[in-house]
């Protein structure tokens, strides 16, 4: 007999999942679940106690992430995960704050918060599930939708060009910038872990299929998308951020692009504004 298909022990990530909310809402073939799994795995591997984490999401399919992780988790308003996370971080610098949200959430309505948090080097980890569209509302054009791609509001193709997200992150001041696809599950988990363990604003873009609302309109089944991720990507750590456009016609560059040291917002604030040692004490009781 082959190895059993049914499970005697629980899935190793169950301790980190609100199992009473599974199945999640993500469609069959949706990559969000994969990105989420890699992220949980990184949290587990980091060895940091779970109550020293908080996850914050905005609104969107990916934004449901916060609803499934079994740590303190916040499903906020559309686009506002980062300022919510900023509030947490500045009030409790010892908490590891992870933002898990979508491209629409973080870069359409939420773009301003992103660039400002990066500028301040806010010590949070931002994981962006980039499925090139607004999945949840049915696949309208996003700031990440490729030029000429079809969407629910660009029937004749997207007339605009998308952001190069790593470049934008870098230009805004992010001190850690990486891009993976959900297929690069282990690299992704490693990147998330690295981002958690370091200080500073860390941004990880994760390409991920939305077969239902993006793939369908662009004649791409989810396994086609994954094939793209496999065949038409190339890993170039330290690549020039200016050369990171997502264009599967050429190769899409993956890897860790930026990893620099710069004082974080909370560090500098404490340094410049809490000269008295006693205040650190106070904060704890505060």
């Amino acid at each position: 007999m082959k190895n059993s298909g049914t499970s005697p022990t629980p899935h190793p990530l169950e301790e980190l999942v609100r199992m009473d909310r599974i199945p999640h809402i993500w469609c069959p073939g949706c990559g969000t679940g994969s990105v989420f799994t890699s992220s949980l795995s990184a949290i587990k591997q980091s060895g940091i106690p779970y109550n020293q984490f908080a996850m914050v999401s905005g609104i969107g399919c990916s934004g449901r992430g916060a609803g499934y992780i079994n740590i303190d988790s916040f499903h906020t308003t559309h686009g506002r995960a980062i300022p919510f996370a900023t509030g947490i971080k500045m009030a409790r610098p010892d908490i590891n704050v992870i933002v898990f949200s979508g491209d629409g959430d973080l870069f359409a309505i939420g773009g301003n918060h992103f660039i400002h948090a990066a500028r301040r080097n806010m010590d949070i980890t931002v994981i962006c599930v980039n499925n090139l569209t607004y999945g949840m509302t049915g696949g309208q054009v996003a700031a990440t939708t490729p030029f000429r791609a079809k969407s629910a509001t660009t029937a004749a193709g997207n007339p605009d060009s998308p952001f190069n997200l790593p470049l934008l992150a870098y230009a805004s001041g992010a001190t850690y910038v990486a891009r993976w696809t959900m297929l690069h599950a282990r690299d992704l988990a490693d990147a998330v872990q690295e981002a958690i363990l370091r200080k500073g604003f860390s941004f990880i873009e994760v390409l991920s299929p939305c077969p239902v609302n993006f793939g369908r309109r662009n004649r791409e089944k989810s396994l086609d998308t994954l094939r793209n991720y496999h065949e038409n990507t190339i890993i170039k750590n330290g690549a020039n951020p200016a050369e990171l456009d997502v264009d599967f016609g050429k190769k899409v560059v993956l890897g860790k692009f930026i990893d620099i040291d710069r004082p974080t917002c909370d560090e500098m604030y404490r340094k410049m504004y809490w000269p008295q040692p006693e205040t650190d004490e106070k904060r704890k009781t505060g």
């Binding site: 609100r18 009473d20 909310r21 779970y50 109550n51 020293q52 908080a54 914050v56 609104i59 916060a66 609803g67 079994n70 740590i71 303190d72 988790s73 916040f74 499903h75 906020t76 308003t77 506002r80 980062i82 300022p83 919510f84 996370a85 900023t86 509030g87 947490i88 971080k89 500045m90 009030a91 409790r92 010892d94 908490i95 301003n112 918060h113 400002h116 917002c265 604030y269 504004y273 809490w274 006693e278 205040t279 650190d280 004490e281 106070k282 904060r283 505060g286």
Partner: protein, 381 residues
């Protein structure tokens, strides 16, 4: 540990007094964005918070400012922001999130004359209905209206206390005039200042439900890091905090949210009465306009008109019962407010057939007491 409350007598403006009130109430986080005439609250907080181990952060806009104070509130601290009309409008979506996630926080609106950019340096009370209805969907809100710098101090403390008691955002609906007016403000000894902090949960962590109400209809609130693994969402949610997309859950949640305010009106509503007992005309007012109203009452009495004042310290929830009771014995209501009729509509709603007048105008200055007198005379003629 030395107290950071500036006990003593000060001659400061309303905005500064508000900041001192926040410090005295134990506020530890302020997310700000400058706007006339509320900027001084932020400026003062930027100086005062580091002195008490707190954090001031100036966010990129008012939406971020408002959102940041919710995030910070979930770490267990008392948080605040301050703005004026345009920023208040921008905060409205996030106010809804605060209400629904039952996140305590204090939002100060130092009102200026609108709509839109309007008269940025001139006072008005034109955002009173917005305070009640500015975010989409049904909700109840608490809003206080200080009439002086001293009350900016006192009511800021009260706002924090209400906010912590009821796990809800509380608005301080001030105005440019009170915000920029300087008067003597007495800050009492820190030990005599009553401050309330949210109830923390105590039971088993694995069975904890962050929205299971306690005796006063309010659930205890854990902080991030306490190990309760809370989930917090703006979606309709059950007592566990989990999203449930059903009409029944919506009803349960809303009944709880509305109920905790509606059922505690007596605790929340503060009013002040002056010469109302024998009044033919009840003047209803709040904030800076109550000072006009008070003066008008005195002048009316000198003129032999029996006028009295109901000053709303709590504007929302609206003291309906008081107006209903008064409507049984007065001949008319005059609401004094710097707008074209906002709270006066509420008075009208509760006044039955007793006529309800407005002494108001389009903003930029206080209402002169004469306007009130004139209306009173007409009403009684």
């Amino acid at each position: 540990m030395k107290s950071h409350v500036l006990t003593g007598e000060h001659f400061i403006n309303g905005d500064e007094a508000c900041a001192e009130g926040a410090i005295a109430a134990g506020c530890k986080f302020f997310g700000g964005y400058p706007i006339t005439p509320a900027t001084e609250v932020a400026e003062q907080m930027s100086v005062r918070l580091p002195q008490v181990g707190g954090t001031y952060i100036q966010m990129e806009d008012e939406i971020a400012a408002m959102t940041s104070i919710l995030g910070a509130a979930w770490t267990g601290v008392k948080t605040m922001t301050a703005t004026s009309g345009p920023g208040f409008s921008l905060m409205m979506e996030t106010v809804g999130l605060a209400v629904v996630t039952e996140t305590p926080c204090v939002v100060v609106n130092v009102q200026r004359a609108g709509p839109s950019t309007g008269l940025p340096t001139q006072g008005a009370q034109g955002d009173m209905m917005q305070a009640r209805w500015g975010s989409h969907g049904d909700y109840e809100i608490i809003a206080l209206a200080p009439s002086s710098p001293q009350e900016m101090f006192d009511l800021t403390i009260a706002a924090f206390n209400l906010s912590e008691t009821y796990r809800t955002p509380v608005f301080i609906m001030s105005d440019e005039i009170v915000g920029h007016m300087s008067e003597k403000v007495i800050i009492p000894d820190a030990r005599t200042i009553k401050t309330i902090s949210r109830t923390k949960p105590t039971g088993r962590k694995d069975r904890f439900k962050p929205y299971q109400p306690g005796p006063n209809g309010v659930a205890p609130m854990p902080a991030i890091g306490d190990g309760y693994n809370v989930h917090v969402t703006g979606l309709t949610h059950d007592e566990k905090g989990y999203p449930v997309m059903s009409v029944d859950t919506q009803k349960e949640m809303m009944d709880r949210l509305l109920g905790k305010i509606r059922n505690n009106r007596d605790d929340i509503i503060m009013t002040e009465e002056y010469l109302l007992d024998d009044a033919d005309i009840a003047v209803v007012s709040y904030g800076v306009s109550a000072r006009t109203a008070y003066t008008a009452v005195e002048q009316a009495r000198q003129n032999g008109i029996r006028m009295g004042l109901l000053r709303l310290i709590t504007v929302w929830p609206f003291p309906e019962d008081k107006i209903r009771a008064l409507s049984k014995r007065v001949k008319g209501f005059i609401t004094v407010e710097i707008n074209m009729g906002q709270i006066s509509r509420e008075v009208q709603r509760c006044a039955g057939t007793v006529p309800s007048y407005l002494a108001g105008h389009t903003g930029g200055a206080v209402i002169p007491p004469d306007d009130v007198l004139k209306i009173a005379k007409e009403a009684l003629a």
